[in-house]
Amino acid sequence: MFKYIIRRLLVAIPTLFLTITLIFFGLRVLPGDPAAAMLGDNATESAVEALREKMGLNEPLWKQYVDYLGSLLQGDLGYSFISNASVSSQLFSVFPDTLKLTLAGIFFGCLIGMPLGIFSALRQNTKTDGFLRFISMIGVSIPPFLLGIYMILIFSLKLNLFPSNGTGQGFIDELHHLFLPALTIGLILSATIMRYTRSSMLDEINQDYIRTARAKGIPERIVVYKHVLRNTLIPVITIIGVQMTGLLSGAVITEAIFSRPGLGSLALGAITTRDFPVLQGALILFSVAVVAVNLLVDISYSIINPKIRAK
């Protein structure tokens, strides 16, 4: 297993490197001049040229790339064009907010999705199952920003139960503020988790060894909770890794709608000010997070699953 983890780590490094490279070239190969974009339509040519010089855009591409990699290795993501603050410190100061939101979202996603998936599978092909499947279908078809807006419309504006923006002061108030945005992310994630749990459970229930367990005369509840569930939920964990990019995108947009500080708000703010270095930094940080989470999920999966453990 140790070997597996090492190998997985070694695979993650080139992936990360490639990702960062893709981001770099992706942004430079595409048409359009970031300097011009940053300054807006009314900028003079000399101003644009000055900015290009300042941003290093006039250097040859390979030099820009080497410089970019070099500073990345030192954890240097450049300086904000607007505030001149270090991008990395800016990112890390709001990182906990995004982390909190994402984790709370995953919590809600599992809390809602897993039991409903199990429930639905146990009632396969009944009306309840059909209803739950339809609901989950809507869940995977609704973009997070729309759900966020509807949550605000209903729970903040109509019912006045939860605040629609900000983070709040103190633990209870913070939780109160966190609830709606986390639920937004959680509900969308729960639809996927539910569908996956259901299908994974149905696969499991049809396995030969479940028949063996029944033939042993074990109570049905033990068959379900011990033999079926364990093998069902292990693969479900892995989809959180798969869903990570979606989750983070959801977090970005949810932060925007609920006016919460975080990586998403920072990135969106940087769009209005055309703060290129901040945007690039956020993108890199998000990509690193995705690679890291997938790595973690794979490793924990290898620890739980005896088949991989043996290797």
Binding site: Y209, T212, R214, I218, I222, N231, I234, P306, K307, A310
Partner: protein, 320 residues
């Protein structure tokens, strides 16, 4: 010998509306300590018969009528919960694919202990001792070590031994073995068949051996039931059956399988295929493939007739 299990006029089929009969008038008994074979090709209903006895029929297949009595106690009317008292304790079952029949996420020890946990009052200590004991009984090398192993760490033959150990743990009266060696290599098959026979004699256990292989029948069983298209077509002691099969299908089966030691020039052929449950032939179900079929066979279904004390045949033109 006392009768242990009695299956009487068992009918089972698929679905409610467009009912498809899968088992038709299944009648047989199993006596204490005997090994009885249920033979037939795929789709003849042999596994279905076994699952009916276990109360483990798939959800979409229902028993329509008939009785299954274990020592005089009716099983078909029992709830799943009540059946759990019987399964694994009174009647145990092993399956064809030892690889997929064991849960990959739990150790061998855990899976054997489970049977004992729900059928006995043993303490954890006793359960462990007993687990090692049954593994020894199935000739498992280093049984103590094997308790900690996961199924994928064992070979196919070893896994089937674990399945048998699990089945034996509570000393069942009947062991149903559903094609227990079909997925195994021939040298491993010999080991497992020898083991099953050894255990049958040691514990005076009854065995229902479900197989398509007449060789397995001849080597391990005393009595045989031949099934075709959901019906019993012949029942006999194994010696008599191989001496002189009475049903054309039984005879055809025996002649069409190449047999070691006599490489004949030409194999016997049963033309055609097993009929689909959707579209059963009228009259005798074997008639379209039978070389002896007459008009009567195509029109009327023959009854399962008692020929002598121990033989029954379903045929208008028994090969007497």
């Amino acid at each position: 010998m006392t009768t242990l299990l009695e299956v009487k006029n068992l009918n089972a089929g698929l679905g409610e509306g467009d009912y498809r009969s899968l088992l038709d008038q299944i009648n047989f008994t199993v006596k204490k300590g005997e090994a009885i074979a249920v033979v037939g090709e795929s789709g003849c209903g042999k596994s279905m018969t076994a699952l009916s006895i276990m109360g483990l029929l798939p959800r979409n297949i229902k028993i329509k009528s008939g009785e299954i009595k274990l020592e005089g106690v009716e099983l078909t009317s029992k709830s799943q919960k009540e059946m759990n008292e019987i399964r694994g304790k009174e009647i145990a079952m092993i399956f064809q694919e030892p690889l997929t029949s064991l849960n990959p996420s739990f150790t061998i020890g855990n899976q054997i202990a489970e049977v004992l946990k729900y059928h006995t009052d043993y303490t954890a200590e006793q359960i462990k001792e007993k687990s090692i004991e049954v593994l020894k009984q199935v000739n498992m090398p280093d049984p103590e070590e094997k308790l900690k192993a996961y199924p994928h760490e064992l070979s196919g033959g070893m896994r089937q031994r674990v399945m048998i150990a699990m089945a034996l743990a509570c000393h069942p009266k009947i062991l149903i073995a559903d094609e227990p060696t079909t997925a195994l290599d021939v040298t491993i098959q010999a080991q497992i068949l020898e083991l099953i026979t050894e255990l049958q004699n040691k514990f005076n256990m009854s065995i229902i051996m479900i197989t398509h292989d007449l060789g397995v029948v001849a080597e391990t069983c005393q009595r045989a039931i031949v099934m075709y298209a959901g019906q019993i077509v012949e029942e006999s002691s194994v010696e008599e059956l191989f001496e002189k099969p009475l049903h054309p299908y039984t005879r055809g089966l025996m002649l069409s399988a190449p047999r070691l030691g006599n490489p004949k020039e030409k194999l016997h052929v049963i033309e055609g295929t097993v009929p689909d449950p959707d579209d059963m032939p009228k009259g005798c179900r074997f008639s379209p493939r039978c070389e002896f079929a007459t008009e009567k066979c195509f029109a009327e279904e023959p009854p399962l007739e008692q020929v002598d004390k121990s033989r029954r045949v379903r045929c208008w033109h028994k090969l007497l």
